[in-house]
């Protein structure tokens, strides 16, 4: 028994030490533009996108193709790196997987309705925002909820990513109502919970919410705290972050970004 414990503890230490060294090397080894050279070597830009947010990043169940505003932005970045917008490889991510996938190099960029916060900037590079939205709330039509004041004692379903929860918490505190939060991994799960009556409110950024609107539900007029979506990259990939930032700036200046937002029918 003692030997087993010693073995377990030592293997745990070995794991921690190894991963520690791994991240050390990544920091020291990343010279100027080395990260971009690595992407060019690989021949394709690997991007993590949402697959459950209609108009932003959505996998069409009929064709199995992932498309949306964020995939078009990924194409623009690929154009900048390779001179060829088709050299992208998209992969579905969730709030839970996008961080680890960036850190282990599985993907180069995350363009997945990723809200920029000061706390997150400590862990990843963020580009300037390509889209600005606000947090909104969806309820069932027959629930009798008109505004945030009617939320006392209600359950709010949010996705496992900080911003919605914190925003609604601040707003309900201001309005003097008490609510309870339930966090889910994906948006369809929150919608299912709303349909089942597990939660009274489905709350997330307005543009995402619009994709889930149906006959039995309604989106309230209340709109809170602006959410800025940025493109995230691994902290050590500084040259890549700079290039992405420039791409967004150029797209804004040329009006291309506005054109894309209009193309996808996002307000």
């Amino acid at each position: 028994m003692k030997r087993l414990l010693v073995f377990l503890l030592s293997s745990l230490m070995a794991v921690v030490l190894l991963t520690g060294c791994g991240s050390d090397q990544a920091t020291n080894g990343a010279g100027e533009a080395k990260d971009i050279a690595a992407i060019k070597d690989h021949g394709v830009l690997k991007v993590g996108v949402k697959v459950d947010v209609p108009k932003f990043g959505f996998k069409d169940p009929q064709t199995n193709k992932i498309d949306g505003l964020e995939i078009d932005i990924a194409r623009a970045v690929a154009q900048k790196i390779f001179g060829d917008p088709s050299k992208i490889e998209v992969q579905g991510v969730t709030a839970k997987t996008r961080g680890p996938l960036l850190d282990n190099g599985e993907i180069d960029l995350v363009i997945a309705t990723f809200t920029i916060t000061e706390e997150r900037k400590q862990s990843y590079n963020f580009s300037e925002p390509y889209f600005v939205d606000g947090v909104r709330m969806m309820v069932k039509k027959n629930a009798g909820i008109q505004s945030i004041k009617d939320l006392n004692g209600k359950k709010i379903g949010v996705a496992q990513s900080a911003t919605t929860r914190k925003v609604i918490q601040d707003e309900t505190d201001k309005a003097g109502v008490k609510v309870e939060f339930l966090e889910f991994g994906t948006y369809p799960e929150i919608k299912t919970a709303l349909d089942a009556g597990r939660v009274n409110v489905f709350s997330v950024d307005g543009a995402i919410l619009a994709g889930y609107l149906d006959d039995s539900t309604v989106i309230l007029d209340d709109k809170f705290a602006t959410q800025q979506y940025g493109i995230a990259s691994k902290k050590s990939n500084t040259a890549l972050a700079k290039l992405v930032d420039e791409t967004i700036a150029e797209m804004k200046k040329s009006g291309e970004l506005d054109k894309l937002i209009k193309k996808w029918g996002i307000r």
Binding site: G22, T27, E119, R165, A193, G197
Partner: protein, 223 residues
């Protein structure tokens, strides 16, 4: 040093330790109640499976086959998302205890059945000849002997049960895994979050697993 295991991320976890402590306590409570339920179901259906009446055996068989051959996640989703549409809105806590308890009850029942069937038929007949009825013969003669064989398996099931409460994270269950997921995706400090969570599960499961190992060894000595 950036990276998933940066020192400031560990420090943030240290500040928020109550989140993990609360989830840990919740996991222990759900596990305990689910374990009680699983033991009860296991004994009842295990004994029914060795009954002489075909009807009882069939009921036990149906329970075991349906539960063992569908994933726990589906069963929990059914209790959580589907039952409300039929007008039954169980609290999330109840869904957790019921889902995990019923699931492992099926495995416990198989362990009990194996234990009972290993006891020679003559034991039950001898009990009958002394005037025992079926259930009292089970209670005083058969089960005490079957216990020796069944308990190591059942202890291993208890370990699985504790780990499987982590499935409740998917239905906002409020246990350890849910809070770990929530904290990790809010702060993006997933490195420390999941290491600590893993260690916490290890802390409850390993003593139980070692206990099961010891029981097995004792049985070998006796046999």
């Amino acid at each position: 040093m950036p990276g998933p295991f940066a020192a400031f991320k560990w420090a943030a976890l240290g500040r928020d330790w109550t989140v993990f402590a609360g989830g840990f306590a919740h996991t222990i409570l759900v596990s305990f109640l689910a374990l009680v339920l699983a033991l009860l179901l296991g004994i009842i259906f295990g004994v029914l499976a060795s009954s002489k009446q075909k009807g009882f055996r069939t009921i036990s068989r149906i329970y075991v086959e349906i539960i063992q051959n569908t994933p726990l996640v589906i069963q929990v989703f059914f209790l959580y998302h589907a039952l409300p549409h039929l007008g039954i809105l169980l609290p999330t806590f109840t869904v957790g205890v019921l889902g995990v308890g019923v699931y492992h009850g099926a495995y416990m029942s198989e362990a009990v059945r194996a234990g009972v069937e290993a006891i020679p038929r003559g034991q039950l007949e001898a009990a009958y000849s002394q005037g025992f009825k079926f259930w009292s013969a089970m209670r005083y003669i058969i089960l005490p002997q079957a216990k020796r064989l069944a308990v190591p398996t059942m202890t291993n099931q208890a370990v699985s049960l504790i780990k499987n409460t982590s499935v409740l994270a998917m239905i906002a269950g409020g246990e350890l895994m849910y809070h770990a997921d929530s904290w990790a995706s809010n702060s993006l400090y997933y490195g420390p979050a999941y290491i600590v969570t893993g260690i916490l599960y290890l802390v409850i499961c390993m003593p139980l697993a070692l206990y099961a190992r010891r029981l097995e060894e004792q049985m070998e000595v006796q046999a």
